[in-house]
Protein backbone atom coordinates (compact mmCIF):
# COMPACT_ATOMS: atom_id res chain seq x y z
CA UNK A 1 0.00 0.00 0.00
CA UNK A 2 2.98 2.34 0.50
CA UNK A 3 5.13 1.19 -2.39
CA UNK A 4 5.60 2.09 -6.04
CA UNK A 5 2.87 4.18 -7.61
CA UNK A 6 1.15 4.61 -4.25
CA UNK A 7 3.97 6.78 -2.91
CA UNK A 8 2.94 9.71 -5.09
CA UNK A 9 -0.67 9.34 -4.02
CA UNK A 10 0.26 9.65 -0.35
CA UNK A 11 2.52 12.66 -0.94
CA UNK A 12 0.00 14.52 -3.06
CA UNK A 13 -2.96 13.75 -0.80
CA UNK A 14 -0.99 15.04 2.18
CA UNK A 15 -0.24 18.33 0.44
CA UNK A 16 -3.85 18.71 -0.70
CA UNK A 17 -5.19 18.00 2.78
CA UNK A 18 -2.93 20.59 4.44
CA UNK A 19 -4.02 23.30 1.99
CA UNK A 20 -7.69 22.28 2.16
CA UNK A 21 -7.56 22.31 5.95
CA UNK A 22 -6.14 25.85 6.12
CA UNK A 23 -8.11 27.45 3.27
CA UNK A 24 -11.23 25.51 4.22
CA UNK A 25 -11.37 26.97 7.71
CA UNK A 26 -11.75 30.43 6.19
CA UNK A 27 -14.34 29.07 3.75
CA UNK A 28 -16.36 27.95 6.75
CA UNK A 29 -15.77 31.16 8.74
CA UNK A 30 -16.78 33.38 5.83
CA UNK A 31 -19.78 31.30 4.77
CA UNK A 32 -18.17 30.88 1.35
CA UNK A 33 -19.22 27.26 0.84
CA UNK A 34 -21.05 28.08 -2.39
CA UNK A 35 -18.07 29.76 -4.12
CA UNK A 36 -15.92 26.86 -2.87
CA UNK A 37 -18.25 24.56 -4.77
CA UNK A 38 -18.62 26.82 -7.82
CA UNK A 39 -14.96 27.63 -8.52
CA UNK A 40 -13.75 24.03 -8.88
CA UNK A 41 -16.65 23.36 -11.24
CA UNK A 42 -15.72 26.39 -13.31
CA UNK A 43 -12.16 25.10 -13.40
CA UNK A 44 -13.42 21.85 -14.86
CA UNK A 45 -14.66 23.82 -17.87
CA UNK A 46 -11.16 25.24 -18.23
CA UNK A 47 -9.65 21.79 -18.51
CA UNK A 48 -12.16 20.95 -21.23
CA UNK A 49 -11.28 24.17 -23.06
CA UNK A 50 -7.56 23.47 -22.78
CA UNK A 51 -8.10 20.02 -24.24
CA UNK A 52 -9.98 21.60 -27.13
CA UNK A 53 -7.13 23.92 -28.16
CA UNK A 54 -4.40 21.52 -27.08
CA UNK A 55 -3.06 23.67 -24.25
CA UNK A 56 -1.73 22.61 -20.87
CA UNK A 57 -4.50 21.24 -18.68
CA UNK A 58 -3.25 22.81 -15.45
CA UNK A 59 -3.01 26.18 -17.18
CA UNK A 60 -6.59 25.91 -18.42
CA UNK A 61 -7.74 24.97 -14.94
CA UNK A 62 -5.89 27.85 -13.33
CA UNK A 63 -7.08 30.48 -15.80
CA UNK A 64 -10.71 29.42 -15.51
CA UNK A 65 -10.61 29.09 -11.75
CA UNK A 66 -9.19 32.59 -11.34
CA UNK A 67 -11.65 33.95 -13.90
CA UNK A 68 -14.55 32.37 -12.00
CA UNK A 69 -13.26 33.81 -8.72
CA UNK A 70 -12.91 37.31 -10.14
CA UNK A 71 -16.35 37.17 -11.77
CA UNK A 72 -17.99 36.14 -8.52
CA UNK A 73 -16.07 38.73 -6.53
CA UNK A 74 -16.64 41.55 -8.99
CA UNK A 75 -20.32 40.97 -9.73
CA UNK A 76 -20.95 40.15 -6.07
CA UNK A 77 -20.07 43.70 -4.98
CA UNK A 78 -23.55 44.78 -5.91
CA UNK A 79 -26.31 42.27 -6.36
CA UNK A 80 -26.71 39.12 -4.38
CA UNK A 81 -23.63 37.08 -3.70
CA UNK A 82 -25.37 33.72 -3.91
CA UNK A 83 -27.25 34.63 -7.10
CA UNK A 84 -24.05 35.73 -8.82
CA UNK A 85 -22.25 32.56 -7.70
CA UNK A 86 -25.06 30.36 -9.03
CA UNK A 87 -25.10 32.13 -12.39
CA UNK A 88 -21.31 32.10 -12.75
CA UNK A 89 -21.34 28.40 -11.94
CA UNK A 90 -23.96 27.46 -14.55
CA UNK A 91 -22.26 29.67 -17.14
CA UNK A 92 -18.94 27.88 -16.57
CA UNK A 93 -20.60 24.46 -16.67
CA UNK A 94 -22.40 25.35 -19.89
CA UNK A 95 -19.10 26.47 -21.43
CA UNK A 96 -17.60 23.17 -20.32
CA UNK A 97 -20.46 21.31 -21.98
CA UNK A 98 -19.92 23.31 -25.18
CA UNK A 99 -16.17 22.54 -25.17
CA UNK A 100 -16.83 18.88 -24.45
CA UNK A 101 -19.30 18.57 -27.31
CA UNK A 102 -16.40 19.39 -29.66
CA UNK A 103 -13.82 17.07 -28.10
CA UNK A 104 -15.56 13.74 -27.71
CA UNK A 105 -12.32 11.78 -27.79
CA UNK A 106 -11.08 13.44 -24.60
CA UNK A 107 -14.32 13.30 -22.67
CA UNK A 108 -13.37 10.21 -20.66
CA UNK A 109 -10.16 11.85 -19.54
CA UNK A 110 -12.02 15.00 -18.57
CA UNK A 111 -14.61 13.16 -16.56
CA UNK A 112 -11.77 11.83 -14.47
CA UNK A 113 -11.20 15.48 -13.54
CA UNK A 114 -14.66 15.56 -12.01
CA UNK A 115 -14.08 12.60 -9.76
CA UNK A 116 -10.31 12.57 -9.44
CA UNK A 117 -7.55 10.04 -9.95
CA UNK A 118 -5.39 10.25 -6.91
CA UNK A 119 -4.01 6.77 -7.50
CA UNK A 120 -2.63 7.71 -10.90
CA UNK A 121 -0.53 10.76 -9.98
CA UNK A 122 2.76 10.92 -11.87
CA UNK A 123 5.97 12.19 -10.31
CA UNK A 124 6.07 15.17 -12.69
CA UNK A 125 2.70 16.33 -11.35
CA UNK A 126 4.09 16.70 -7.82
CA UNK A 127 6.13 19.87 -8.39
CA UNK A 128 3.31 22.16 -9.63
CA UNK A 129 1.02 20.92 -6.86
CA UNK A 130 3.67 21.65 -4.23
CA UNK A 131 4.35 25.08 -5.73
CA UNK A 132 0.69 26.15 -5.89
CA UNK A 133 0.05 24.76 -2.43
CA UNK A 134 2.96 26.69 -0.95
CA UNK A 135 1.67 29.81 -2.72
CA UNK A 136 -1.75 29.39 -1.11
CA UNK A 137 -0.31 28.90 2.36
CA UNK A 138 2.00 31.90 2.02
CA UNK A 139 -0.89 34.08 0.80
CA UNK A 140 -3.09 33.02 3.72
CA UNK A 141 -0.19 33.65 6.10
CA UNK A 142 0.41 37.12 4.69
CA UNK A 143 -3.25 38.07 4.92
CA UNK A 144 -3.85 36.21 8.18
CA UNK A 145 -4.89 39.06 10.51
CA UNK A 146 -7.15 41.11 8.17
CA UNK A 147 -8.58 37.91 6.70
CA UNK A 148 -9.47 36.56 10.12
CA UNK A 149 -10.97 39.86 11.24
CA UNK A 150 -13.05 40.41 8.11
CA UNK A 151 -14.20 36.77 8.23
CA UNK A 152 -15.45 36.80 11.81
CA UNK A 153 -16.32 40.47 12.45
CA UNK A 154 -16.76 42.27 9.10
CA UNK A 155 -18.10 45.46 10.68
CA UNK A 156 -15.23 45.78 13.11
CA UNK A 157 -12.81 45.09 10.26
CA UNK A 158 -14.38 47.87 8.18
CA UNK A 159 -14.14 50.27 11.12
CA UNK A 160 -10.44 49.46 11.47
CA UNK A 161 -9.82 50.32 7.82
CA UNK A 162 -9.78 46.81 6.37
CA UNK A 163 -11.18 46.76 2.84
CA UNK A 164 -13.59 43.85 3.18
CA UNK A 165 -14.23 43.69 -0.52
CA UNK A 166 -10.54 43.54 -1.43
CA UNK A 167 -10.07 40.80 1.15
CA UNK A 168 -12.98 38.89 -0.35
CA UNK A 169 -11.45 39.18 -3.83
CA UNK A 170 -8.05 38.08 -2.54
CA UNK A 171 -9.56 35.15 -0.70
CA UNK A 172 -11.52 34.00 -3.76
CA UNK A 173 -8.30 34.06 -5.79
CA UNK A 174 -6.56 31.98 -3.09
CA UNK A 175 -9.51 29.60 -3.32
CA UNK A 176 -9.03 29.47 -7.10
CA UNK A 177 -5.33 28.61 -6.76
CA UNK A 178 -6.07 25.92 -4.21
CA UNK A 179 -8.63 24.60 -6.66
CA UNK A 180 -6.25 24.52 -9.62
CA UNK A 181 -3.82 22.56 -7.51
CA UNK A 182 -6.30 20.05 -6.18
CA UNK A 183 -8.62 19.40 -9.13
CA UNK A 184 -6.31 17.04 -11.05
CA UNK A 185 -5.77 15.05 -7.87
CA UNK A 186 -9.03 14.65 -6.00
CA UNK A 187 -11.34 15.89 -8.76
CA UNK A 188 -13.34 19.08 -8.90
CA UNK A 189 -16.33 17.65 -7.09
CA UNK A 190 -14.46 16.52 -4.01
CA UNK A 191 -12.01 19.19 -3.03
CA UNK A 192 -15.15 20.81 -1.91
CA UNK A 193 -15.90 18.07 0.63
CA UNK A 194 -12.39 18.32 2.02
CA UNK A 195 -12.69 22.10 2.31
CA UNK A 196 -16.02 22.03 4.14
CA UNK A 197 -16.36 18.90 6.29
CA UNK A 198 -13.08 18.80 8.27
CA UNK A 199 -12.89 22.61 8.85
CA UNK A 200 -16.53 22.70 9.94
CA UNK A 201 -15.83 19.93 12.42
CA UNK A 202 -12.73 21.77 13.67
CA UNK A 203 -14.76 24.92 14.17
CA UNK A 204 -17.29 23.07 16.30
CA UNK A 205 -14.51 21.63 18.47
CA UNK A 206 -12.21 24.65 18.85
CA UNK A 207 -12.99 28.32 19.25
CA UNK A 208 -9.47 29.80 19.18
CA UNK A 209 -8.38 30.43 15.56
CA UNK A 210 -4.88 28.94 15.85
CA UNK A 211 -6.20 25.81 17.51
CA UNK A 212 -9.02 25.53 14.95
CA UNK A 213 -6.53 25.70 12.06
CA UNK A 214 -4.35 23.00 13.57
CA UNK A 215 -7.34 20.79 14.23
CA UNK A 216 -8.75 21.45 10.77
CA UNK A 217 -5.50 20.38 9.08
CA UNK A 218 -5.26 17.31 11.31
CA UNK A 219 -8.81 16.20 10.52
CA UNK A 220 -8.35 16.88 6.79
CA UNK A 221 -5.15 14.78 6.82
CA UNK A 222 -6.85 11.90 8.59
CA UNK A 223 -9.81 12.10 6.19
CA UNK A 224 -7.54 12.07 3.14
CA UNK A 225 -5.34 9.25 4.45
CA UNK A 226 -8.23 7.05 5.49
CA UNK A 227 -9.86 7.71 2.11
CA UNK A 228 -6.77 6.56 0.20
CA UNK A 229 -6.44 3.45 2.34
CA UNK A 230 -10.15 2.63 1.94
CA UNK A 231 -10.01 3.25 -1.79
CA UNK A 232 -6.94 1.04 -2.09
CA UNK A 233 -8.52 -1.87 -0.24
CA UNK A 234 -12.01 -1.68 -1.70
CA UNK A 235 -11.18 -0.48 -5.24
CA UNK A 236 -14.06 2.00 -4.95
CA UNK A 237 -13.53 5.62 -6.09
CA UNK A 238 -11.66 7.78 -3.60
CA UNK A 239 -14.23 10.53 -4.03
CA UNK A 240 -16.86 8.42 -2.33
CA UNK A 241 -14.75 8.01 0.78
CA UNK A 242 -13.68 11.66 0.93
CA UNK A 243 -17.30 12.80 0.64
CA UNK A 244 -18.73 10.38 3.17
CA UNK A 245 -15.89 10.66 5.73
CA UNK A 246 -16.01 14.48 5.57
CA UNK A 247 -19.72 14.56 6.27
CA UNK A 248 -19.38 11.90 8.97
CA UNK A 249 -16.61 13.75 10.79
CA UNK A 250 -18.75 16.88 10.93
CA UNK A 251 -21.75 14.87 12.11
CA UNK A 252 -19.73 13.27 14.90
CA UNK A 253 -18.23 16.58 16.01
CA UNK A 254 -21.58 18.35 16.00
CA UNK A 255 -23.36 15.49 17.76
CA UNK A 256 -20.61 15.27 20.36
CA UNK A 257 -20.74 19.01 21.03
CA UNK A 258 -24.52 18.98 21.42
CA UNK A 259 -24.38 15.98 23.76
CA UNK A 260 -21.58 17.55 25.79
CA UNK A 261 -23.51 20.79 26.17
CA UNK A 262 -26.67 18.95 27.18
CA UNK A 263 -24.91 16.82 29.80
CA UNK A 264 -23.18 19.81 31.29
CA UNK A 265 -25.75 22.56 31.47
CA UNK A 266 -28.88 22.53 33.63
CA UNK A 267 -30.85 24.51 30.99
CA UNK A 268 -30.48 22.55 27.75
CA UNK A 269 -32.10 25.12 25.46
CA UNK A 270 -29.64 27.87 26.28
CA UNK A 271 -26.70 25.53 26.15
CA UNK A 272 -27.62 24.25 22.70
CA UNK A 273 -28.03 27.69 21.24
CA UNK A 274 -24.70 28.74 22.71
CA UNK A 275 -22.96 25.77 21.17
CA UNK A 276 -24.57 26.24 17.77
Amino acid sequence: MFSGFMTNAWIVATMVAVVAGVVGLFVVLRGDAFPAHAIPNGAFAGAAGAALIGANELLGLGVFAVAAALTIGWLGRRGRHDVVTALALVMMLALGAAFLSHTTEYSQEIFSLLFGEVLGVSTTALAPVALLGAGCLIAVGALYRPLLLSSSLPDVAAARGVHNHLIEMAFLVILALATAMTVPVVGSLLIFSLMVGPPAAARVLASRPSRAITLSVAIALLTAWFSIASSYWSNWPIGFFVGVYSAAVYGVAKGGALLHARLRAPTPVLAVSAAA
Binding site: A36, S193, V244
Partner: protein, 306 residues
Protein backbone atom coordinates in the same frame (compact mmCIF):
# COMPACT_ATOMS: atom_id res chain seq x y z
CA UNK B 1 -38.53 33.41 -42.49
CA UNK B 2 -36.14 30.58 -43.28
CA UNK B 3 -33.20 32.74 -42.21
CA UNK B 4 -34.66 32.74 -38.72
CA UNK B 5 -36.16 29.28 -38.44
CA UNK B 6 -34.06 26.58 -40.04
CA UNK B 7 -36.12 24.14 -42.14
CA UNK B 8 -37.72 21.45 -40.02
CA UNK B 9 -37.85 23.45 -36.81
CA UNK B 10 -41.64 23.33 -36.59
CA UNK B 11 -42.11 19.79 -37.86
CA UNK B 12 -39.53 18.09 -35.65
CA UNK B 13 -41.07 16.04 -32.85
CA UNK B 14 -37.92 16.49 -30.78
CA UNK B 15 -38.28 20.24 -30.99
CA UNK B 16 -41.95 20.04 -29.98
CA UNK B 17 -41.09 18.02 -26.88
CA UNK B 18 -38.22 20.36 -26.06
CA UNK B 19 -40.41 23.45 -26.41
CA UNK B 20 -43.14 22.02 -24.17
CA UNK B 21 -40.82 20.64 -21.48
CA UNK B 22 -38.64 23.74 -21.57
CA UNK B 23 -41.63 26.06 -21.32
CA UNK B 24 -43.24 24.21 -18.39
CA UNK B 25 -39.93 23.91 -16.55
CA UNK B 26 -39.19 27.58 -17.09
CA UNK B 27 -42.53 28.69 -15.65
CA UNK B 28 -42.35 26.39 -12.62
CA UNK B 29 -38.68 27.17 -11.89
CA UNK B 30 -39.14 30.90 -12.26
CA UNK B 31 -42.14 31.18 -9.97
CA UNK B 32 -40.50 29.12 -7.23
CA UNK B 33 -37.16 30.75 -7.97
CA UNK B 34 -38.42 34.20 -7.00
CA UNK B 35 -38.76 32.96 -3.41
CA UNK B 36 -35.45 31.10 -3.62
CA UNK B 37 -33.72 34.35 -4.55
CA UNK B 38 -35.52 36.42 -1.90
CA UNK B 39 -34.61 33.86 0.76
CA UNK B 40 -30.98 33.72 -0.41
CA UNK B 41 -31.18 29.97 -0.97
CA UNK B 42 -29.54 29.75 -4.39
CA UNK B 43 -26.98 27.34 -2.99
CA UNK B 44 -29.64 24.96 -1.70
CA UNK B 45 -31.52 25.27 -5.00
CA UNK B 46 -28.39 24.29 -6.89
CA UNK B 47 -27.32 21.59 -4.44
CA UNK B 48 -30.67 19.85 -4.85
CA UNK B 49 -29.87 19.25 -8.54
CA UNK B 50 -26.83 17.31 -7.37
CA UNK B 51 -28.70 15.26 -4.77
CA UNK B 52 -31.33 14.59 -7.45
CA UNK B 53 -28.57 13.39 -9.79
CA UNK B 54 -27.32 11.14 -7.00
CA UNK B 55 -30.79 9.64 -6.76
CA UNK B 56 -30.85 9.31 -10.53
CA UNK B 57 -27.53 7.45 -10.60
CA UNK B 58 -28.76 5.14 -7.83
CA UNK B 59 -31.87 4.43 -9.91
CA UNK B 60 -29.75 3.62 -12.97
CA UNK B 61 -27.65 1.26 -10.85
CA UNK B 62 -30.60 -0.76 -9.54
CA UNK B 63 -32.44 -0.21 -12.86
CA UNK B 64 -35.64 1.42 -11.68
CA UNK B 65 -37.24 4.44 -13.34
CA UNK B 66 -34.73 7.36 -13.15
CA UNK B 67 -37.60 9.79 -12.56
CA UNK B 68 -38.32 8.11 -9.22
CA UNK B 69 -34.64 8.32 -8.37
CA UNK B 70 -34.37 12.01 -9.24
CA UNK B 71 -37.44 12.96 -7.20
CA UNK B 72 -36.41 10.81 -4.23
CA UNK B 73 -32.89 12.24 -4.36
CA UNK B 74 -34.14 15.82 -4.32
CA UNK B 75 -36.66 15.25 -1.52
CA UNK B 76 -34.18 13.31 0.63
CA UNK B 77 -31.56 15.99 0.02
CA UNK B 78 -33.94 18.75 1.08
CA UNK B 79 -34.88 16.76 4.18
CA UNK B 80 -31.22 16.21 5.07
CA UNK B 81 -30.46 19.93 4.68
CA UNK B 82 -33.37 20.81 6.95
CA UNK B 83 -32.20 18.21 9.47
CA UNK B 84 -28.57 19.41 9.53
CA UNK B 85 -29.36 23.07 9.01
CA UNK B 86 -29.84 25.75 11.57
CA UNK B 87 -31.86 28.92 11.08
CA UNK B 88 -28.82 31.16 10.84
CA UNK B 89 -27.92 31.98 7.24
CA UNK B 90 -24.23 31.10 7.45
CA UNK B 91 -24.78 27.75 9.11
CA UNK B 92 -27.47 27.01 6.54
CA UNK B 93 -24.83 27.37 3.83
CA UNK B 94 -22.66 24.99 5.77
CA UNK B 95 -25.45 22.44 6.15
CA UNK B 96 -26.06 22.61 2.40
CA UNK B 97 -22.35 22.12 1.79
CA UNK B 98 -22.08 19.09 4.06
CA UNK B 99 -25.10 17.40 2.48
CA UNK B 100 -23.85 18.28 -1.01
CA UNK B 101 -20.39 16.82 -0.34
CA UNK B 102 -21.79 13.55 0.95
CA UNK B 103 -24.23 13.35 -1.94
CA UNK B 104 -21.52 13.90 -4.58
CA UNK B 105 -19.45 11.22 -2.93
CA UNK B 106 -22.35 8.79 -3.14
CA UNK B 107 -22.96 9.75 -6.77
CA UNK B 108 -19.35 8.98 -7.67
CA UNK B 109 -19.75 5.53 -6.10
CA UNK B 110 -23.02 4.81 -7.91
CA UNK B 111 -21.63 5.96 -11.25
CA UNK B 112 -18.49 3.89 -10.72
CA UNK B 113 -20.52 0.79 -9.88
CA UNK B 114 -22.80 1.40 -12.87
CA UNK B 115 -19.93 1.76 -15.34
CA UNK B 116 -18.08 -1.28 -13.98
CA UNK B 117 -21.10 -3.57 -13.80
CA UNK B 118 -23.05 -2.60 -16.90
CA UNK B 119 -20.45 -0.90 -19.14
CA UNK B 120 -22.72 2.01 -19.99
CA UNK B 121 -20.24 4.87 -20.11
CA UNK B 122 -22.82 7.30 -21.44
CA UNK B 123 -24.61 7.32 -18.09
CA UNK B 124 -22.21 9.83 -16.50
CA UNK B 125 -22.63 12.44 -19.18
CA UNK B 126 -26.37 11.89 -19.42
CA UNK B 127 -26.96 12.32 -15.69
CA UNK B 128 -24.66 15.30 -15.27
CA UNK B 129 -25.47 17.24 -18.39
CA UNK B 130 -28.84 15.83 -19.54
CA UNK B 131 -30.20 17.39 -22.69
CA UNK B 132 -33.58 18.84 -23.39
CA UNK B 133 -33.44 17.39 -26.92
CA UNK B 134 -33.25 13.77 -25.74
CA UNK B 135 -36.07 13.91 -23.22
CA UNK B 136 -38.57 11.12 -23.85
CA UNK B 137 -42.03 12.40 -24.83
CA UNK B 138 -43.51 10.13 -22.12
CA UNK B 139 -41.93 12.40 -19.49
CA UNK B 140 -44.06 15.35 -20.62
CA UNK B 141 -47.30 14.58 -18.71
CA UNK B 142 -45.36 13.76 -15.52
CA UNK B 143 -43.43 17.01 -15.70
CA UNK B 144 -46.63 18.98 -16.25
CA UNK B 145 -48.54 17.31 -13.39
CA UNK B 146 -45.79 17.68 -10.80
CA UNK B 147 -44.93 21.15 -12.03
CA UNK B 148 -48.51 22.29 -11.56
CA UNK B 149 -48.55 20.69 -8.08
CA UNK B 150 -45.39 22.56 -7.04
CA UNK B 151 -46.79 25.87 -8.30
CA UNK B 152 -50.10 25.21 -6.49
CA UNK B 153 -48.26 24.63 -3.19
CA UNK B 154 -46.49 27.96 -3.61
CA UNK B 155 -49.70 29.75 -4.66
CA UNK B 156 -51.66 28.32 -1.72
CA UNK B 157 -49.05 29.47 0.76
CA UNK B 158 -48.26 32.70 -1.03
CA UNK B 159 -48.76 35.23 1.78
CA UNK B 160 -47.23 33.24 4.67
CA UNK B 161 -44.36 32.23 2.39
CA UNK B 162 -43.69 35.83 1.43
CA UNK B 163 -43.76 36.97 5.05
CA UNK B 164 -41.41 34.22 6.28
CA UNK B 165 -39.09 34.93 3.35
CA UNK B 166 -38.82 38.64 4.04
CA UNK B 167 -39.02 38.77 7.83
CA UNK B 168 -39.04 35.45 9.70
CA UNK B 169 -39.18 37.15 13.11
CA UNK B 170 -42.23 39.20 12.20
CA UNK B 171 -43.85 36.09 10.72
CA UNK B 172 -43.26 34.16 13.94
CA UNK B 173 -44.55 37.06 16.03
CA UNK B 174 -47.74 37.26 13.99
CA UNK B 175 -48.51 33.64 14.83
CA UNK B 176 -47.26 31.90 11.70
CA UNK B 177 -45.64 28.52 12.10
CA UNK B 178 -42.44 29.37 10.29
CA UNK B 179 -41.08 25.82 10.43
CA UNK B 180 -44.14 24.39 8.67
CA UNK B 181 -44.04 27.04 5.95
CA UNK B 182 -40.34 26.41 5.42
CA UNK B 183 -40.83 22.68 5.18
CA UNK B 184 -43.63 23.08 2.62
CA UNK B 185 -41.48 25.46 0.60
CA UNK B 186 -38.47 23.12 0.66
CA UNK B 187 -40.73 20.27 -0.49
CA UNK B 188 -42.00 22.35 -3.42
CA UNK B 189 -38.45 23.39 -4.28
CA UNK B 190 -37.25 19.79 -4.12
CA UNK B 191 -40.03 18.63 -6.44
CA UNK B 192 -39.44 21.42 -8.93
CA UNK B 193 -35.68 20.91 -8.97
CA UNK B 194 -35.89 17.13 -9.14
CA UNK B 195 -38.20 17.33 -12.12
CA UNK B 196 -36.33 20.01 -13.96
CA UNK B 197 -32.99 18.31 -13.51
CA UNK B 198 -34.23 15.14 -15.16
CA UNK B 199 -36.15 17.06 -17.83
CA UNK B 200 -33.58 19.67 -18.83
CA UNK B 201 -30.37 18.65 -16.98
CA UNK B 202 -28.70 19.95 -13.84
CA UNK B 203 -27.09 23.02 -15.46
CA UNK B 204 -30.31 24.35 -16.93
CA UNK B 205 -32.24 23.52 -13.77
CA UNK B 206 -30.17 25.96 -11.70
CA UNK B 207 -29.99 28.53 -14.47
CA UNK B 208 -33.78 28.65 -14.91
CA UNK B 209 -34.40 28.65 -11.15
CA UNK B 210 -32.11 31.57 -10.33
CA UNK B 211 -31.48 33.60 -13.50
CA UNK B 212 -34.95 34.82 -14.59
CA UNK B 213 -36.06 35.30 -10.96
CA UNK B 214 -33.02 37.40 -10.04
CA UNK B 215 -33.41 39.44 -13.22
CA UNK B 216 -37.11 40.06 -12.54
CA UNK B 217 -36.46 41.09 -8.94
CA UNK B 218 -34.06 43.74 -10.20
CA UNK B 219 -36.66 45.15 -12.58
CA UNK B 220 -39.70 45.28 -10.30
CA UNK B 221 -40.26 45.44 -6.57
CA UNK B 222 -43.83 44.09 -6.67
CA UNK B 223 -43.84 40.40 -5.94
CA UNK B 224 -46.71 39.30 -8.21
CA UNK B 225 -45.25 41.26 -11.10
CA UNK B 226 -41.85 39.73 -10.37
CA UNK B 227 -43.26 36.19 -10.55
CA UNK B 228 -45.05 36.95 -13.84
CA UNK B 229 -42.00 38.67 -15.31
CA UNK B 230 -39.68 35.85 -14.22
CA UNK B 231 -41.95 33.25 -15.82
CA UNK B 232 -42.11 35.28 -19.06
CA UNK B 233 -38.33 35.80 -19.17
CA UNK B 234 -37.75 32.13 -18.42
CA UNK B 235 -39.97 30.94 -21.26
CA UNK B 236 -38.55 33.50 -23.69
CA UNK B 237 -34.90 32.62 -23.00
CA UNK B 238 -35.64 28.89 -23.11
CA UNK B 239 -37.43 29.01 -26.45
CA UNK B 240 -34.90 31.38 -27.98
CA UNK B 241 -32.08 29.14 -26.74
CA UNK B 242 -33.70 26.09 -28.30
CA UNK B 243 -34.05 27.97 -31.59
CA UNK B 244 -30.41 29.11 -31.55
CA UNK B 245 -29.20 25.60 -30.74
CA UNK B 246 -31.31 24.16 -33.55
CA UNK B 247 -30.15 26.77 -36.06
CA UNK B 248 -26.51 26.41 -35.04
CA UNK B 249 -26.42 23.05 -36.84
CA UNK B 250 -26.11 25.07 -40.05
CA UNK B 251 -23.39 27.44 -38.90
CA UNK B 252 -19.68 26.94 -39.36
CA UNK B 253 -17.79 24.48 -41.45
CA UNK B 254 -17.99 21.40 -39.26
CA UNK B 255 -21.77 21.56 -38.79
CA UNK B 256 -21.19 21.15 -35.07
CA UNK B 257 -24.23 22.07 -33.04
CA UNK B 258 -23.95 24.18 -29.94
CA UNK B 259 -25.34 22.37 -26.88
CA UNK B 260 -28.80 23.68 -26.07
CA UNK B 261 -27.87 24.13 -22.41
CA UNK B 262 -25.07 26.46 -23.44
CA UNK B 263 -27.40 28.58 -25.61
CA UNK B 264 -30.04 28.98 -22.89
CA UNK B 265 -27.58 29.60 -20.04
CA UNK B 266 -25.76 32.17 -22.16
CA UNK B 267 -29.00 34.07 -22.76
CA UNK B 268 -29.96 33.89 -19.08
CA UNK B 269 -26.55 35.18 -18.01
CA UNK B 270 -26.52 38.06 -20.51
CA UNK B 271 -30.04 39.03 -19.47
CA UNK B 272 -28.98 39.19 -15.81
CA UNK B 273 -25.98 41.40 -16.66
CA UNK B 274 -28.09 43.73 -18.81
CA UNK B 275 -30.74 44.00 -16.09
CA UNK B 276 -27.97 45.09 -13.71
CA UNK B 277 -27.11 47.97 -16.02
CA UNK B 278 -30.76 48.93 -16.44
CA UNK B 279 -31.20 48.77 -12.67
CA UNK B 280 -28.26 51.05 -12.05
CA UNK B 281 -29.41 53.57 -14.69
CA UNK B 282 -32.94 53.76 -13.28
CA UNK B 283 -31.67 54.01 -9.68
CA UNK B 284 -29.28 56.74 -10.79
CA UNK B 285 -32.12 58.65 -12.46
CA UNK B 286 -34.27 58.32 -9.33
CA UNK B 287 -31.44 59.55 -7.15
CA UNK B 288 -30.86 62.49 -9.48
CA UNK B 289 -34.54 63.44 -9.20
CA UNK B 290 -34.43 63.20 -5.42
CA UNK B 291 -31.28 65.25 -4.97
CA UNK B 292 -30.67 67.50 -7.97
CA UNK B 293 -27.58 68.99 -6.35
CA UNK B 294 -25.70 65.67 -6.60
CA UNK B 295 -26.64 64.20 -9.96
CA UNK B 296 -24.05 61.45 -10.03
CA UNK B 297 -24.65 60.09 -6.55
CA UNK B 298 -25.89 56.53 -6.83
CA UNK B 299 -27.57 55.22 -3.70
CA UNK B 300 -26.45 52.03 -2.04
CA UNK B 301 -28.88 49.44 -3.25
CA UNK B 302 -28.43 46.68 -0.74
CA UNK B 303 -27.83 47.15 2.92
CA UNK B 304 -24.66 45.72 4.34
CA UNK B 305 -23.01 45.01 1.02
CA UNK B 306 -20.12 47.37 1.62
Amino acid sequence: MSWLFEPGFFSSAQVHTALIIGGVTAVVSASIGVFTVIRGQSFAGHALTDTAATGGSAAVLVSINPLVGFLAGAVLGAGAMEAVGVRHVRSRDLATGIVLGASIGLASLFLYLTTTTTATTGATQEILFGSIFVTAPSTVPVVIVFGVLAVLVVAAGFRPLLLTSIDPDLAAASGLRVGVVELAYMAALAFAVGLSSIAVGAILSTALLIGPAATALRLTKRIVAAVALAAGLGVATTWLGILVAYDSADWGAGHDTLPVSFCIVGLVFVLYLVSGLAFRVSEGARAARRSPSRPGAAPRMSSGSS
